[in-house]
């Protein structure tokens, strides 16, 4: 059989503020009908641009060269999307190729019902009555697994959960039964448990609808789970192309090997050396939470939102506690409460011997020198108007260890060195550093006063995998060097597994399981933990197939 899409020598350039930027260079690839092709790569590798080119969705500022030959499902009709414009391009979109977007909450128009939005796509391709279009919408919603579609076809996007929204987006893509779906990071915005369901749905798309899928992702686990064939992109170019088993088992290119090697894997935590002693033997806990409750006050008649309800745990000196949970589980709230950013509303939380319930800021301020905090987003955690050196010196200045940033410079240099940043970076501004470099600087700042407790709130979730691996490595190194206790917050079990001595699992504000890393990950007691573990795709197609079966078993038993 022929191909659904045949990309030949594709080049894309953009006009940006910095001038001309090449996004895709000399790209060649084909997708066969019913095939799932994954394009992987880190940010800026050009994978998303490639995907958008297939639909002719690039903005005016892009200049495209080469050809993207798109065939319809039956394979009789082929168009070069690059050459198409206006009405002809519009006809192809949705009929021959459709797209699934990364963020379902932005890909759905908030002010129209999902039924209307699905019907828009249908009615754009031929004279189809309103009623008939709606029937088609109900039908497709049912097929992507939306319960009670007759009623929910008239719902607005915000009335669906995140996973259901993504199902709706997929339904929209499927409704005209195109031969190809381009899925741009379709699960990145979702929690792992939901991600597994969406991946199943995409697999069904192929199996039931016979649709080919171009899957754009950075997540090697997702690739291993779903793809038939993989294309690796790096710096606008295609570096390697292979079927999925081959790629994971014997990657040819150095870059692919690095990429695969950077992916954190479950079970790697075991090599951290001897299992830590029970924490009670390590002295007075640095953090001790007993029946901790945290509420966010409601605005104007809204009942208060209880983010954390009755959580009890401790962090011993020198210990790394990993706090894991999906979005909304309250893990970030706990971290913020320990740092005194969010007030505690009930129970007890003792931080370095200070009871946080009802504490006054002025009483807590001196204690802050003992606490370091690393924020999730390195882009926003630095004052853009201060240099890196000034930012890192800030704790020293505030706590009177140095008169001003200049006086602290030698100490700042030491710190930068400790986080493997060149001294010269101190005089740069935050935006002149890459994400990984900024996160290192963030670590340097957090460690400036040699704190006894470090709180790291998803410190690597905004970073590419290879960068993430290096930052995590650094974190571990520093922890061993300085011996601080740490609360490491993450949604990624594999990441936590790499660092944490003990792991605590949160579900909807409640602590459902806590224990040594190996115990929690190796022999989870709580069904949620088990499902969480099983949902996490591993970067190994063979193993992942087995895990998928395990997940299905778990789901069916629940």
């Amino acid at each position: 059989m022929s191909t659904v899409v045949d990309i030949r020598n594709l080049g894309v350039e953009f006009a940006t503020d910095a001038g001309r930027v090449t996004a895709v260079d000399g790209m060649n690839l084909t997708v066969a009908p019913g095939e799932i092709l994954a394009i992987v790569g880190e940010s800026g590798s050009g994978k998303s641009v490639t995907a958008k080119t297939i639909l002719g969705l690039l903005p005016d500022t892009a200049l495209t060269s080469g050809a993207v030959l798109l065939s319809n499902r039956e394979g009789q009709d082929t168009h070069d999307v690059v050459q198409l414009t206006g009405e002809r391009l519009r006809e192809v979109r949705g009929r021959d190729v459709a797209m699934v977007f990364q963020e379902p909450s932005t890909a759905l128009n908030p002010v129209y019902t999902v039924g209307w939005q699905i019907a828009e796509g249908i009615r754009a391709h031929g004279r189809i009555g309103r009623r008939q279009a709606k029937n088609m919408a109900v039908d497709i919603l049912r097929r992507v697994g939306i319960p009670d579609p007759e009623k929910r076809v008239d719902y607005y996007p915000h009335q669906f959960s995140g996973g259901q929204k993504q199902r709706v987006v997929i339904a929209m893509a499927l409704v005209l039964n195109p031969g190809l779906i381009v899925a741009d990071e379709p699960t990145t915005a979702l929690d792992v448990t939901v991600q597994a369901e969406i991946l199943d749905l995409l697999r069904r798309c192929r199996d039931e609808f016979g649709t080919a899928i171009v899957l754009i992702t950075h997540n090697m686990g997702v690739v291993a789970d779903l793809a038939d064939r993989v294309v690796v992109m790096y710096q606008s170019k295609l570096v390697e192309q292979a079927d999925v088993e081959t790629l994971f088992s014997s990657p040819r290119e150095e870059y692919t090997r690095t990429l695969l090697g950077s992916v954190p894997r479950l079970g790697n935590g075991a090599d951290r050396g001897p299992a830590p002693a029970p924490h009670s033997e390590l002295g007075t806990p640095v953090v001790e939470a007993r029946d901790l409750q945290i509420e966010y006050p409601g605005r104007l008649g809204v009942p208060a939102f209880r983010a954390v309800q009755g959580v009890t745990f401790t962090v011993a000196p020198g210990e790394v506690l990993g706090l894991v949970g999906e979005s909304g589980s309250g893990k970030t709230t706990i971290g913020r409460a320990i740092a005194g950013l969010t007030p505690v509303t009930g129970g007890s939380l003792s931080v370095l011997g200070h009871e946080m319930l009802g504490i006054r800021e002025s009483d807590f301020r001196p204690v802050r020198s003992e606490i370091g905090f690393v924020f999730q987003d390195p882009a926003t955690s630095f004052n853009p108007r201060l240099t890196i050196a000034e930012c890192v010196a800030e704790p020293l200045v505030v706590h009177g260890r140095a008169k001003d940033a200049g006086a602290a410079r030698s100490r700042v240099d030491e710190l930068l060195e400790a986080v493997h940043l060149p001294k010269a970076f101190g005089s740069r501004f935050p935006h002149e550093l890459s994400g990984g470099q900024r996160q290192r600087a963030s670590l340097a700042r957090a460690l400036a006063l040699e704190p006894t407790l470090l709180i790291a709130d998803e410190p690597t979730s905004a970073l590419d995998v290879s960068v993430q691996a290096r930052v995590l490595e650094l974190f571990r190194e520093l922890q061993q060097q300085f011996g601080f206790a740490a609360l490491f917050i993450s949604h990624d079990l594999a990441v936590v597994d790499m660092l944490a001595d003990r792991i605590a699992v949160l579900l909807k504000g409640q602590l459902i399981e806590v224990g040594a890393g190996a115990d929690v990950l190796g022999a989870p007691r709580h069904p949620y933990t088990r499902r969480l573990l099983a949902s996490l795709p591993v970067p190994d197609p063979v193993e992942q197939r087995a895990r998928r079966a395990e997940l299905h078993r778990l789901r069916s038993t629940e």
Binding site: T16, D17, T61, T380, S381, F382, H431, E432
Partner: protein
């Protein structure tokens, strides 16, 4: 959201010179095509008026309250001639000279009003936004109440209150400027406050808090320095509004007396009665001056706004390989 600040930043690999980071200049460098054209047109127009204001004594052939030269009166409502190139007003003054001198009045009012309102508005917005509490709530309610109120009416009442009805040059300019300030403060207050509230939740402010920095240090070192991002834009837009308000005051007869200063709104007011008699030159010239000055400032303001907003900024469309060298 995560990538917000990444956008503008990633594209500047080197630290640009101070000059090129100045508002307007920075945007001019970033702009392309029509957007650039509009910005340049705005800058040129505005610059022209500022020059006129500075060089008024050189440009204007006569004084703004001069009705005769060498003892010979110009005559009243004389049509444009060699002596009075844009004719004379009903008061017997030279229209051209009054239009030129009028730039001085307009500029003075704009500068005073904008400076005063920025100063007060920023302080209030910062304190209110960062500290919150009852002070914040009260200020917000007051600002909300005043904000949508027709500015001109407020300006009229304020100008009566401030001058006690007197309209000398300094008094007139000051009162117009202060009246306009009173209207603008809520605007600056709201902009700065919302910016401060946004910044308050930013990671870098929280990280300063975690470090243990004092409230004052956070407010001034971390928040204030970042909250002023949007001010250049509001300044240009408000400057144009200030001119319109001044003209409106003058038009309604609450402005500056003709013998104290030249003021376009006043001249327009007087010219209104001339329309039915077909005397167009007394009104058209000062009117066009207002329109062009406001147009210039608005073009600058809006272009700066569009260019600083990546969603609205135009970028060069790439042509086929031919002009790669360009």
């Amino acid at each position: 959201m995560v990538f917000r600040s990444a956008t503008a930043e990633q594209q500047t690999p080197r630290k640009p010179s101070l000059f090129s980071r100045l508002p307007v200049v920075a945007q001019l460098r970033q702009s392309v095509g029509l957007q650039r054209g509009m910005l340049i047109a705005g800058v040129v127009l505005t610059g022209m008026f500022v020059l006129c204001a500075l060089l008024a004594p050189l440009i204007a052939p006569y004084g703004f309250a001069q009705s005769r030269v060498d003892g010979v009166a110009f005559g009243r409502q004389e049509p444009p001639s060699a002596e009075n190139i844009w004719g004379t007003t009903v008061g017997g003054y030279d229209v051209f000279s009054r239009v030129i001198w009028g730039t001085q009045t307009a500029l003075a009012v704009v500068v005073i009003a904008v400076v005063l309102s920025i100063f007060l508005g920023v302080i209030l917005g910062l304190v209110s936004g960062y500290l919150g509490g009852w002070l914040d709530r009260i200020l917000v309610v007051i600002a909300d109440a005043i904000y949508p109120f027709p500015t001109l009416l407020l300006a009229i009442v304020m100008s009566i209150v401030i001058t006690g009805g007197q309209s000398s040059l300094i008094g007139g300019i000051l009162s117009a400027a202060i009246s306009i300030t009173v209207i603008f403060i809520p605007q600056y207050f709201r902009v700065v406050r919302s910016e401060v509230v946004r910044l308050k939740a930013e990671a870098f402010v929280e990280s300063a808090k975690v470090i243990g920095a004092s409230t004052r240090r956070i407010m001034f070192l971390h928040v204030l320095r970042n909250a002023t991002r949007t001010l250049p834009l509001i300044v240009t837009l408000n400057a144009s509004e200030a001119i319109l308000t001044l003209a409106g005051l003058g038009f309604l007869g609450f402005g500056i007396a003709p013998t104290s200063a030249a003021e376009w709104g006043y001249d327009l007011n007087r010219a209104l009665a001339d329309t039915a008699s077909g005397i167009w030159w007394t009104g058209v010239f000062p009117g066009v001056a207002i329109v062009l000055f406001v147009l210039g400032l608005t073009l600058v303001g809006e272009s700066v706004n569009d260019i600083s907003d990546p969603r609205l900024r135009a970028r060069k469309r790439l042509k086929k390989k031919k002009d790669v060298s360009a």
